[in-house]
Every structure is written in structure tokens, then in C-alpha cells.
């Protein structure tokens, strides 16, 4: 399959073309950029529902129940589920489909599992490109599941029009809730596994934290139970309510800014790496001269950008 065929297939919504395009975005960004040049359209930026939270809190299961309700709102829905790449072997076990298969099949939803491949921040390098591939094929809403994320993994804010932070009872007390990071970026806090003891305590801890936060009135806290199938309809309506308040142009600009920033950094780091790799002897000389590492790095940077 060549680039012309992928481009033509995308416009028709062909699944194999979407899939191949996402592979290009991951494996060969230079080739993907040719497709982006032809098809990128900021007006078609889909709504992105970002779902983050610690490992094991039930993100995949929650998505499997939430997705049909989002699709029922008249959206063509795609799901991008991110799992971690092993830092030792480069391999990954992508198991999100185990929970989502029934939903994906019933709702004709396009779903893709993506490995982080060393990216930090809870997302992958290619996530915006994959969203773009879906938008070119006519999808207008994408659910992105971040890798089981910690407090500092806040990149999902930049690519999402609505951010859900999924938590579960027993993860911590109000001290945890006061900490910075993922608690600050969420639009909707979901206490999942609400059938377990301690769910009310968790919800109250979040609420009391929110009262200390500026702009808290727009933030929502809700409870869901996937085993009892409770609270999912309410959650879907909270997502739609939040989406109504999102300015599409502002969101498209935010997502665009993040992607330009990422690509520029990637290109710059490649140039610096190629200069640094070819300057083994020079680095030795810099060290002998007694140059400090800041001056040395600046000298290399100047040359690679010049």
C-alpha cells in the first residue's frame, strides 16, 4: 500500500487505510507528514475525550461502557488506548481490547492499541497523528486512554477537549487529593468501583479539595460502578455538558500548538544528535581545555542550528 492509496482510502473512511496511516505515524513520521500535508484541516479537529488515572482503576472497563453512550450522542467514535512499552526490551503487552472487544464490535467503533515506545507524560509521540488519521476518515469524537498514569503525567490535558480522571476507592486520603498534577487537569473526576467500601470517602476528599481550587465550579465529581453498570449514563451526560462549553477553535489551537511544539523539538533533537554524534573528538578537546558542560553544550547547539 503506498501513500497515494492510503490518502485516498482515508477520505473514504476505509479501515485498513486508517490503520496503515497510524502505523506510518508511529514508524515513519517523514512519510506520514506527506499525508498530513494533503489532508490536515483544523476545522475537522474531532472532540477528544481524554481518560487518565492510575493503573488498575478501571479505565478500559469504564470506556467499554461509556463509549456506546458517547456514540449514541450522534458521534462517529474512535478509541485510542495506550499501554506501556518495556524500557528493557522495547516490547509491550497491549491488553485493552480484552475489556473493550464487545463494545468495539457492537458499535462499529475503530479501536487502536498503541504502545508508548519510550514516550513520557502518559501519551505516545504519535497520538495526535492517530487522531488526525481518524478525523480525515470522518470520525468526529476520539476517546484517548492514557497509559496507567501517575500524578505528573499531565500531557493529556493538551490534546483533550474534556479530561476525565478516573480514581478508585482506597487510593489515598485528602493529602493525596491536595497534591499537584493530575488532580489539577481533570474536568470530570470519576470515582469508579463505587460498589467498594470507601467510595464516598474518596468522593468527599475530592470535593473538599475542589472547594480550595479556583474555577472549581466548572469541575464535576461523579461515581460509577462498572460491575453494577451504575452511573454511566450520568457520566456521559456530564461529558456532553462539558463539551458544550468547549470552544472548538480554541481547542483546535491548543492541540495544534502542542503538536507543532512536539514536532519542532523532535526535529531539533535529531539535528543536535547528529552533530553531537560526529563530535566525539571535539568533546574530548573541550574537556581537555577545561570547558564547563554548559559552555560545551551551547557550542554544539549553536553549530547544529546554524
Amino acid at each position: 500500500m503506498d501513500i497515494a492509496r492510503i490518502t485516498a482510502g482515508l477520505k473514504k473512511g476505509d479501515r485498513a487505510s486508517i490503520a496503515r496511516c497510524m502505523t506510518l505515524a508511529e514508524d515513519d513520521p517523514a512519510a506520514f507528514s506527506k499525508i498530513a500535508k494533503k489532508l490536515y484541516d483544523p476545522k475537522r479537529m474531532p472532540r477528544v475525550i481524554g481518560i487518565t488515572g492510575p493503573p488498575g482503576c478501571g479505565k478500559s472497563t469504564l470506556i467499554s461502557q461509556l463509549a456506546p453512550r458517547l456514540a449514541a450522542g450522534g458521534h462517529r467514535l474512535g478509541i485510542i488506548a495506550i499501554d506501556a512499552t518495556s524500557p528493557f526490551t522495547g516490547g509491550a503487552f497491549l491488553g485493552n481490547r480484552i475489556r473493550m472487544e464487545e463494545t468495539v464490535k457492537a458499535g462499529k467503533i475503530f479501536m487502536r492499541s498503541i504502545a508508548t515506545r519510550g514516550a513520557k507524560g502518559g501519551l505516545t509521540e504519535s497520538v495526535m497523528s492517530s487522531i488526525m488519521a481518524l478525523s480525515c476518515a470522518g470520525y468526529d469524537m476520539v476517546v484517548v486512554e492514557s497509559v496507567g498514569a501517575g500524578q505528573a503525567d499531565v500531557d493529556i490535558l493538551n490534546i483533550s477537549s474534556t479530561v476525565l480522571l478516573v480514581l478508585a476507592p482506597g487510593l489515598g486520603d485528602e493529602i493525596q487529593a491536595m497534591k499537584a498534577g493530575s488532580m489539577e487537569i481533570a474536568d470530570i473526576f470519576v470515582v469508579n468501583k463505587s460498589e467498594l467500601p470507601g467510595a464516598d470517602v474518596a468522593k468527599n476528599a475530592i470535593l473538599s479539595y475542589l472547594y480550595t481550587l479556583q474555577g472549581h465550579s466548572s469541575k464535576k465529581v461523579t461515581m460509577t460502578s462498572c460491575t453494577k453498570k451504575e452511573g454511566i449514563d450520568l457520566l456521559a451526560s456530564l461529558v456532553f455538558d462539558h463539551e458544550k462549553g468547549v470552544d472548538p477553535a480554541e481547542f483546535a489551537e491548543r492541540a495544534f500548538r502542542m503538536e507543532v511544539d512536539r514536532i519542532a523539538k523532535e526535529l531539533a533533537s535529531k539535528r543536535i544528535e547528529s552533530v553531537a554524534a560526529g563530535s566525539g573528538a571535539e568533546i574530548g578537546r573541550m574537556l581537555k581545555k577545561g570547558m564547563d558542560p554548559y559552555t560545551a553544550a551551547n557550542a554544539l547547539l549553536k553549530r547544529s542550528m546554524g
Binding site: 485498513a16 490503520a19 497510524m22 508511529e26 518495556s86 526490551t89 516490547g91 509491550a92 492499541s113 519510550g118
Partner: protein
Amino acid sequence: MFMENGKNRKSSDRPIRVLLAKPAIDGHDRGVFVLARAFRDAGMEVIYPGLLPTPEEIVDIAVDEDVDVIAISLLNSSHMAVFRKLMALLRKRKATGIAVVGGGIIPEDDKPELERMGVTGNYGPGTPMSEIIAHIRKRAAQARAAKWKGR
């Protein structure tokens, strides 16, 4: 091992994507988990969709996930029926570039017919993991060449 974060690499040395599946009414999933772990540790991206997918679902997933290899583990004698169906569906979807590898309890008598269909490997219990991994790598390289033909 140092992880390079995928910079400056060609698509040929990108992680192999494998769909590992157990179709038909076969719940013996110990073997498939051992394989999943071994493939992951060999640097592959392993997609596992859970128990009991139908051949139709396997093909749908393989296309969406753009995998290089479909690896099927079967221990309940349904291999001939499953593979026949699977290969027919792949042809129908024009996804014949994807390599199909089998394993589990597969009698010697059935192997030539499976090979004719394009199902290779067909490993039984006791096969060294290294042999299976080497075979997956070989088939994945062929699948990639077919995938990107004409680019």
C-alpha cells in the same frame, strides 16, 4: 539494554506487532500467556483480545491494529476449521499480507495441509521459545515487505 526511544530508525526495525489469539471454544490459555510474555520480552508489541474471539473478529482486529503476524494457539482440534475460515476471511478483506502462524496440539498429518494454506510454524508442546520467536521474526519481515510493496 539501552532503549533508544525509536529515534532515527527505519520501519524495518520497528517493533513487530503480533496479534495473539485463541479462537473457537478453547479456554486453555496458559500457553498463550507464556507466549505473550515471551514475545513481549523479545521486543514485540503483543495484542491479546481475550478468550473466544471468532475468526471474523480476529480479522477485524488484525486490520484495525495493522499487525504483521497473527499467531493462533489451539489445543482443542478445531485448527483445520478455524484456519480455513481465517485464511478465507483474510483473502476476502484483501489482507493476505498478514502472516499467519499456528501452534498448540496439531497432529503431524494435518501440518502439510496447513502449510499449503499458508499457516506456518504449527509448533507443538516442548518447542524451544527461541525457535518460535525466530520464526515469528522471519514471517513478520516477509509480511512487512508485502505490506509496503510499491511504496
